[in-house]
């Protein structure tokens, strides 16, 4: 569904991504792993059109979206939950959700009902300002806001950041469930490789802007070298 070919991105004189190729398919969770500064977020931001690459190609299905604006990429059905969740604190829960619905032609009322059923906590707090929510609730809101527009691709940037292990685990299960239920293409950027690899079908390991490994998640998870040098997983 999302195909990135030979992507190179520069920030001024610094090379953030160097000849990166990634493919993510429907019904599968693709984990993008690597240390801080590996270029994971840049990859997602480039897919969304927030960052203009130096060279390379980005496809949504068969359509090149390299010169498509961020707004239009979102309208195609790519939902991007940015780092820090992107919840707008000064708006209420419901306003945040309504905002999410503008990207598609979905009926707002129906969409809201659906999300409130899925996340009852949000329904209870619909009139509350987001500044008053807890970290877990904010993450739920970010997910709900991304899902309300019935996207075909979900880009998640460090969803586990700042969450308790138990909450992270629930969140990962939810991501997997959603992925299967609606044949969603999920690109999951995580520093927490362990949690991500638990649910991912495919995985890509980035290091200083280059792909050092990619393939089935199980294979990656069992590669000792990768575990040791790039994923920080030591047993």
């Amino acid at each position: 569904m999302i195909r990135v070919e030979n992507l190179t991105v520069n920030y001024g004189a610094i090379r953030a991504l160097d000849d990166v190729s990634v493919q993510a398919n429907p019904g599968r969770v693709t984990a993008i792993l690597g240390a801080n500064g590996a270029g994971k977020s840049t990859l997602l931001r480039t897919i969304s059109g927030l960052v203009a690459p130096k060279s390379g190609r980005v496809f949504f299905g068969d359509r090149s979206i390299l010169s498509t604006s961020t707004e239009n990429i979102a309208r195609l059905g790519v939902a991007h939950v940015p780092e820090g969740r992107g919840v707008i604190y000064e708006l209420t829960v419901e306003e945040n959700l309504r905002l999410g619905a503008f990207a598609s032609k979905v009926d707002i009322r129906e969409g809201l009902e659906k999300q409130y059923t899925q996340f009852p906590v949000l329904g209870e707090r619909r009139k509350k300002y987001c500044a008053t929510l807890s970290g877990g609730e904010r993450q739920m809101l970010a997910m709900a806001r991304a899902l309300i527009s019935n996207p075909r691709v979900l880009l998640l940037d460090e969803p586990s950041l700042g969450l308790a292990p138990l909450v992270t685990s629930e969140l990962m299960n939810l991501i997997l469930e959603l992925c299967h239920a609606s044949d969603l293409t999920v690109l999951l950027v995580e520093q927490n490789a362990k949690s991500a690899l638990r649910i991912a079908h495919d995985a890509v390991v980035l290091h200083l802007g280059t792909v050092v490994a990619s393939g089935e998640a199980d294979v990656i998870a069992n590669d000792k070298n990768l575990r040791h040098y790039y994923l920080g997983l030591v047993q």
């Binding site: 927030l50 239009n72 309504r98 905002l99």
Partner: protein, 299 residues
């Protein structure tokens, strides 16, 4: 009883202060709309509104209806605001905020010079359909006239309209989101650039309402008629908090009344100090304006 109260010196000053204050409020509101979305302090705001009111209101000389001219002025204001954002302001996004000050100051100079070149600096008298004669009560003047009441109504109506738009409509939600978190809004499919343009259009429209009220008043229409009012509007916006439309409106009214009371009970020369004192006191108590939402320092 009631009527003598309305004609009392204190009410006299309150009405005079409010009449000036609603003008400040509108200008402050228009500055806040722009500040929220683009973080630009638009020094040309008053001049843009003046120019639009010249184009619209001088049509009265050709025998056209006042209300029609008001609508024309508004339309010109919308267009002017949108074009300004597109052509002059857009290249400045991401540049130091202070650059926008220079550009808008330059624009102010251009607009006023063009206005003087076209219409000269002689005052124009705008005939209003509503009487400007103040009401009398048992021989005593009540400082309200049909036009002043209309002025209050119009200002309140515009403020309510802006509030409803921002609070309860989808467009308003998109506008607020674009102002608060432009990147997030874009990721959610909101056409942020379009929203910024619409914000400038709305803001210019609100400014035009203020300029038309000023031009219709007893000092008429002339190219620099909004200069002092812009400064007072800016002060009002700062007092209320630049991210608070409600604060802008209340700030404007406060400044108008404060000026009037200094004038009446202290010295006419020092009238403008009334507003300045309010500003200093307000900022010493609340460094981000009275109605600012206190947002903690983000590290």
């Amino acid at each position: 009883m009631m009527s003598t109260f309305l004609a009392s010196p204190i009410m006299h000053n309150i009405f005079a202060g409010l009449a000036q204050g609603v003008i400040y409020s509108l200008v402050a509101l228009s500055l806040v709309i722009i500040w929220q979305s683009t973080h630009v302090l638009n020094f040309a705001q008053g001049a843009m509104a003046m120019f639009a009111s010249y184009i619209g209101m001088t049509e009265i000389d050709r025998g056209l209806n006042y209300w029609f001219c008001l609508v024309v002025s508004l339309a010109v204001g919308f267009l002017f605001g949108g074009l300004t954002e597109r052509i002059l302001i857009r290249p400045l996004y991401g540049k130091p905020e202070i650059n926008a000050i220079v550009v808008t100051v330059g624009f102010l100079g251009v607009i006023e010079a063009v206005a003087q070149a076209i219409w000269t600096s002689t005052t124009r008298n705008i005939a209003t359909p509503l009487s400007q004669i103040y009401f009398h009560d048992q021989g005593r003047v009540v400082l309200l006239s049909p036009f002043v009441l209309f002025q209050f109504g119009l200002a309140l109506g515009i403020m309510a309209l802006v509030a409803v738009l921002f609070r309860f409509t989808n467009l308003g939600l998109k506008l607020r989101a674009s102002a608060l978190a432009p990147e997030v809004a874009r990721l959610l499919g909101v056409r942020v650039n379009r929203m910024l343009t619409i914000g400038w259009m709305l803001s210019a429209g609100v400014g035009v309402v203020a300029a038309v009220i000023v031009a219709s008043g007893s000092f008429g229409l002339y190219p620099s008629d909004m200069d002092g009012i812009l400064i007072a509007g800016f002060i009002a916006a700062v007092v209320g908090g630049l991210d608070s439309p409600v604060g802008a409106v209340i700030g404007g009214l406060l400044i108008g009344i404060a000026e009037q009371f200094v004038l009446a009970y202290w010295s006419a020369d020092l009238a403008s100090l009334g507003g300045l004192i309010i500003l200093v006191v307000a900022l010493m108590i609340r460094p981000q304006g009275i109605f600012a939402k206190s947002v903690g320092r983000r590290v």
